[in-house]
């Protein structure tokens, strides 16, 4: 990957998308990407390019998400939906192993079956915030001494096609979190979608040799400088249109200092402890273990299932749960995500995708809660300074 000159950007016309699907499928990938289902743009296996959400955009607000028809035919003119790529790379349920007790002439033995061959996915339409989220999951799930086998298998086999943003949503704040609507690494191919002048096309940049290989199988032409500049400008301008801002200055400190803030009572009065925020968050990675046996007792399975710090069982130690109040559970979530994640993994756990805001049925807004915590601390400090 390093040491080679970056190839010049190319252009793929909208008619080239089927060839892209062919090229990916020919290499054994299952293509996963955005498609419309049940009034939202979800991440699902795609049989063909025709299933992409052409002409659909979204409107998001706290606790609210609506599809809207676009005036153009853009396939990627939408911000984050209810699912992230976590559903593909770190699935909600995964079987870790199964075992059978077999009684034969040699006595009783346990036969263990490991995980199946990991599927190989091509992730099509990964927004730059989600490219960063995958990077964070890489760090969390494979960066330590014991790589997560399910994630490792799926991640190693994955092909990432990023699509840059030109229209951030009202709940987006990736620029606050140190990212932005452009993608500069972490992909095999990066597309920028252009629809102006009725000319639907993609500027394509190559991130890896595998990306170059796929691109070589797709009809493309050299991108002229004006188009490349036009695409880059659209992405750069998008950075100025974020619907939300997160005050990140000294954020870990702020959360540590807010441990006893009266504001947790206020959040807890609104929070349902339903767990939706953690389920939709592209970096929330926590899981629990389920041991399953069958009625005969001769067959056992171990499953790994998404968990959430909003569940009581999550903090269950001998004798009871540690975090029983809504206050302590919301505080745990936001403090880990924005504060102690830095100590643990060297970055923030939030990429500013806005999913937790839009999909919280109570409309709780992480950026708003942080602003309130910050102003309450400031106020408290100001009060203390008063003679």
């Amino acid at each position: 990957m390093t040491g080679t000159a970056t190839p010049a950007p190319r252009l793929i016309d909208i008619d080239g998308l089927p060839a892209l699907f062919e090229a990916l499928r020919g290499r054994g990938y299952t293509v996963v990407g955005p498609t419309v289902r049940d009034g939202a743009i979800v991440v699902a296996e795609l049989a063909s390019a025709a299933e992409l959400p052409f002409g659909w955009g979204v409107e998001t607000e706290a606790g609210r998400y609506r599809l809207r028809e676009r005036s153009d035919t853009a396939a990627f003119g939408h911000s984050a939906g209810p699912q992230s790529w976590k559903t593909v790379l770190h699935p909600a349920r995964a079987k870790l192993w199964s075992a059978d007790r077999v009684t034969g002439s040699a006595g009783t033995s346990i036969v263990e079956t490991g995980a199946a061959e990991p599927p190989r996915y091509a992730l099509l339409g990964v927004r730059p915030c989600d490219v960063r989220a995958i990077g964070i999951l890489d760090q969390v799930l494979t960066g330590g001494r014991h790589a997560d086998p399910v994630y490792r298998g799926r991640r190693d086999g994955a092909f990432v096609i990023a699509v840059e943003c030109t229209e951030p949503g009202a709940t987006c704040f990736c620029t606050s979190m140190g990212g932005g609507p452009g993608a500069d690494s972490g992909f095999d191919l990066a597309l920028t979608e252009l629809t102006d002048g009725g000319d639907h096309r993609f500027v394509v940049r190559t991130g890896t040799a595998a990306g170059a290989g796929v691109l070589a199988d797709v009809p493309s032409r050299a991108a002229d400088e004006a188009t490349v500049r036009h695409a880059a400008t659209a992405v750069a301008e998008a950075a100025g249109h974020m619907g939300r801002t997160m005050p990140t200055q000294g954020l870990p400190r702020l959360l540590a200092d807010s441990r006893e803030s009266p504001h947790w009572d206020d959040v807890a009065s609104r929070c349902l402890t339903c767990g939706n925020c953690t389920m939709v968050c592209p970096t929330c990675f926590c899981t629990t273990t389920e041991d399953v046996t069958d009625l005969t007792g001769d067959h056992a399975e171990r499953w790994r299932v998404w968990d959430s710090c909003f569940a009581l069982d999550f903090s269950y130690l001998h004798g009871g749960s540690v975090r029983t109040s809504g206050q302590s559970r919301y505080r745990q979530w936001i403090t880990h995500k924005l504060g102690t994640w830095h100590d643990q993994f060297g970055s923030s756990g939030c990429v500013g995708c806005g999913r937790c805001i839009a999909w919280c049925p109570a409309g709780i807004d992480i950026t708003q809660e942080v602003s309130t915590l910050a102003s309450m601390l400031e106020q408290a400090a100001a009060d203390e300074d008063k003679p």
């Binding site: 979800v42 009625l295 569940a311 049925p361």
Partner: protein, 262 residues
């Protein structure tokens, strides 16, 4: 080793939860191979004498006789598991708890003097110790199998008490509240159904009763935001789990006599 014995008991209920056991068609033979079904009158008139290792108890307590009978069942059972909303929360018949039962009987029956009933419908746990409560109206087949299987090998059943929303997201549903403004009780409802209704574009009806830490005020706020009238909010919590304390609280947070203003 003798096979453990299983008994199924019925109190005030519709039989739907017991039938869930018969519904385990594929697994029923396996169950019968591992447990001695000693008493299950829906399936067989043969009744073996107690005591029993496991009793599945369906239904709520609505008569003085039943209040006595459940004590005897408890004495005969090593492990007592309640199945369904009636046994765990009083069932839909607990609606009487909010009304005058004598008035009901006088209106409904030609000879109200033939009716001998308590003023309330109460869950089994209000009368005897319960080892495990399996929720749902009706209970979920997979969950029933899980409880039986776990009891057989002596492990804790995998029956999480968090919200339906966990299952909803794990299943890949699109949230009907956020995407459609449809009222949904999922955030305050105990998981177990696998988020069945939201998977079919409907809000959760709360069949599995309250989740572990329901936030009544926040849930009522959510329902109001979807445009639900106060009286409808009260009604939403006055169904199969009307007698569950958390659902009583929810129905009290809403103001039943206020009509929608538009």
């Amino acid at each position: 080793m003798d096979m453990p014995t299983l008994a199924v008991w019925k109190f005030a209920s519709c039989d739907g939860c017991q039938l869930t056991l018969l519904d385990c068609e594929d697994e029923l033979l396996a169950i019968a191979g591992r447990v001695k079904i000693a008493r299950f009158t829906e399936a067989s008139s043969e009744i073996l004498p107690g005591p029993y290792d496991v009793s599945l108890v369906e239904g709520s307590i609505t008569t003085a006789d039943d209040a006595e009978r459940i004590r005897r069942v408890r004495e005969m059972s090593r492990t007592l598991v309640t199945i369904g909303a009636c046994a765990s929360a009083g069932g839909v018949q607990a609606l009487r708890n909010f009304a005058d039962v004598e008035e009901f009987t006088s209106v409904v029956y030609a000879r109200p003097d033939y009716i001998s009933t308590l003023a309330t419908s109460t869950p089994i746990a209000a009368h005897v110790d319960v080892d495990f409560e399996l929720h749902g109206c009706p209970i979920d087949r997979r969950q029933l199998l899980e409880v039986i299987t776990a009891l057989l090998v002596g492990r804790k059943p995998n029956i999480p008490a968090h919200s339906v929303c966990f299952e909803c997201k794990q299943r890949g549903n699109v949230c009907v509240v956020a995407a459609h403004g449809t009222p949904c009780l999922g955030p305050v409802t105990h998981a177990g159904c696998g988020a069945l209704c939201p998977a079919h574009h409907r809000g959760c009806y709360g069949c599995f009763g309250p989740m572990e830490t329901p936030n009544a005020a926040a849930q009522v706020g959510l329902l109001r935001a979807t445009g639900m009238a106060e009286a409808d909010i009260v009604r939403a919590f006055r169904t199969f789990n009307a007698g569950a304390p958390a659902f009583i609280e929810l129905s009290q947070v809403a103001r039943p006599h206020e009509r929608r203003s538009e």
